[in-house]
């Protein structure tokens, strides 16, 4: 088990190291000068003022230092939790903007991932080897998993929000309400949350159902399933054993899909103007606020790595083989 976690943590550590390095390297390698483009954005006519701004920005990026010192400094400020100052929401620190947005993103992501995983697995397990159910669940699942997150979100916002006018289509809560710990505010929050959650849930659902169906069919053909049915065990029991085995690759699949799910949540937030990380990233891109964009990137990487580690822990709890150091999950 120690070897298993050691290997995993090594991969995560290296991934984080690489992410920070890429984050530091890209602005310095890409064509074009970020300082120049920010100066252009500031639209300052006076040459003296422009020079002063250039010095200020160069200091901010630390472009006047030797490269290795810039690199070490970037790690230093990272450990101090300093992601720089947002240019779009000047002078708010990027870290503040991000920590304000993260709860909204998590509130969308965690329920939609978990519920779609559980429901999708149940659905797929039910559908496997059952003609009628299989012929309905499978095509629907394929359509759902082929749908771009942003398009389903747009369709739902349009249908439920604008044509029928049942749900709000923008924001995390109504503009007429001030955030407070009241029942009204909470209801309003939930009301705004429901559509983005539902669209994320639906797209993710399809993939889990397809995956589980395929694994269950494979498990039902295995020796232990044949042996059980030869002994005359009821079909329900065999399916239950098959399900428990089939859950393992689906847990691994969850870890592999995290990046895609997070990406889906980001674009869904944009469609609904939901005040999470996705909307911040959009603002950062539109306003060329590179500090904010890079801060958001590191936040996402960190979040995905933490989630991966949690899934690893769950895997060890669920699969006893990893605990005694027998094969099981590969690193």
């Amino acid at each position: 088990m120690r070897r298993y976690f050691g290997r995993k943590l090594l991969v995560y550590g290296l991934t984080f190291f690489m992410a920070v390095t890429v984050n530091w390297l890209v602005p310095r390698l890409m064509p074009g000068d970020p300082v120049a483009s920010m100066l252009a954005r500031a639209r300052v006519a006076q040459p003296e003022a422009q020079e002063a701004l250039r010095v200020y920005y160069n200091n901010l990026f630390g472009f006047d230092l030797p490269w290795w010192q810039q690199y070490l400094n970037s790690w230093g400020s990272l450990f101090r939790g300093d992601f720089g100052i947002s240019l779009w929401a000047f002078p708010t620190p990027v870290a503040d903007l991000l920590t304000r947005a993260v709860p909204y993103s998590l509130a969308l992501l965690i329920p939609s991932i978990l519920i779609s995983w559980v429901v999708g697995n149940r659905l797929g397990a039910l559908a496997a080897r059952r003609k009628i159910l299989d012929n309905t669940v499978l095509p629907v699942s394929y359509v759902l998993t082929a749908t771009p997150y942003l398009w389903l979100a747009a369709l739902m916002a349009w249908a439920f929000g604008i044509v029928w006018g049942i749900f709000p289509v923008a924001g995390g809560y109504s503009f007429s309400i001030t955030p407070s710990f009241t029942w009204d505010f909470f209801l309003d929050l939930a009301w705004h949350w429901l559509l983005p959650f539902a669209s994320l849930f639906l797209v993710a659902l399809g993939g889990w159902a397809i995956g589980m169906r395929n694994v269950i069919i494979y498990e039902l053909e295995s020796d232990y399933a044949n042996y059980l049915s030869a002994l005359g065990a009821p079909q329900r029991l065999i399916r239950r054993y098959a399900f428990r085995n089939a859950v393992l690759p689906q847990i691994t699949g969850l870890a592999l899909q995290l990046g895609v799910l997070v990406a889906g949540a980001l674009v869904t937030e944009i469609v609904f103007s939901y005040p999470g990380l996705g909307s911040l990233i959009l603002a950062a891109i539109q306003n060329k606020d590179f500090f904010l964009l890079q801060g958001a990137f590191l936040f996402i990487v960190l979040g995905v790595l933490i989630a991966n580690f949690i899934i690893d822990v769950v895997y060890v709890i669920v699969d006893p083989r990893t605990r005694v150091g027998m094969a099981g999950a590969s690193a």
Binding site: V11, P148, L150, A154, L256
Partner: protein, 280 residues
């Protein structure tokens, strides 16, 4: 073998339907632009026209012809999917074959690299790369997508190679002094050719979905029209609130159709190649 695959292929409805949809859309994307003499971004007519008449898919708030955009967008979307999926498949194959066949420390290093990129949320990486790249082409977008999407393909190809490399015919080839590269190309790859094709198809579809997300967030190609860019513009100019459903429904439906048809064709192909899955 070939004729057998063909025999089952023409009798597999999933494959036929999937391939049919893709061919029709591909045909529209390839041939269509030749019948439209105006650029897709040109202001051609009345603003906010519903579909019908002169403009098959209507016009947007600027009076641009949405059918022209759709046709050109299909072309870009196929291009990005094929190129991005192709690059990812090529890298995945090289890494997977070498890691699986060589084993040892080569495998250790390649496997570590694969795992690192596998846990990295690649779309976020693409945001950073594309945001700093002021001018973006569709080819550049495909290249970046290909460079980040190969890990799972490499992982599964490595596993397959691993199981093939201990077979007798591979040992025989090695005994007769054939080089590693030749063994991979002549002995191992042909034995999993169907699997490689399926991998490419999945990467193709995945690339299209990723490209649409990138386009939507405002990091699409700056020199072309794509289905994702149509969605981005529709959102940016609040087509939803203006009731211009013909602006955002066709491009999204196009993406869903292409990717869905790819997945369904993939399942069909799997059944064609794998006798265990055939329904007789």
């Amino acid at each position: 073998m070939r004729t057998e695959a063909l025999y089952f292929a023409v009798r597999n409805t999933k494959l036929l339907v999937g391939a049919g949809i893709i061919l029709v859309l591909l045909g529209i994307g390839v041939i269509g632009p030749f019948f439209i003499d105006k650029a897709p971004t040109e202001y051609v007519g009345m603003q906010m026209q519903p579909p019908g008449g002169e403009f098959w898919l209507g016009t947007n708030t600027f009076g641009q012809d949405l059918w022209a955009q759709f046709v050109h967008g299909l072309r870009t979307t196929f291009l990005v999917g094929a190129l991005g999926g192709g690059i990812a498949a090529a890298i995945g194959m090289v890494v997977g074959f070498v890691a699986g066949y060589k084993g040892g420390w080569v495998d250790e290093i390649l496997n570590m690299l694969t795992n690192i990129i596998l846990v990295l949320p690649t779309l976020a990486v693409l945001f950073i790369l594309n945001a700093y790249l002021g001018v973006r082409s569709a080819g550049m977008q495909a290249l970046f997508i290909g460079l980040t999407q190969w890990p799972w393909a490499a992982r599964s190809i490595r596993a397959q190679t691993f199981s093939l490399r201990g077979r007798d015919f591979v040992d025989l080839a090695r005994l007769s002094g054939v080089g590693s590269g030749r063994i991979i190309m002549r002995e191992i790859a042909p034995n999993m050719s169907s699997y490689l094709l399926l991998t490419f198809i999945l990467l193709f579809g995945g690339s299209i979905l990723i490209a649409s997300s990138l386009d939507f967030i405002g990091l699409g190609p700056t020199d072309a029209v794509s289905l994702g860019l149509m969605l981005q513009q529709a959102h940016q100019w609040s087509a939803m609130h203006l009731g211009l459903w013909w602006w955002f429904i066709p491009p999204g439906a196009g993406i869903t159709l292409i990717v869905g048809a790819l997945y369904v064709a993939n399942v069909g192909l799997d059944e064609v190649f794998n006798p265990k899955l055939r329904e007789l």
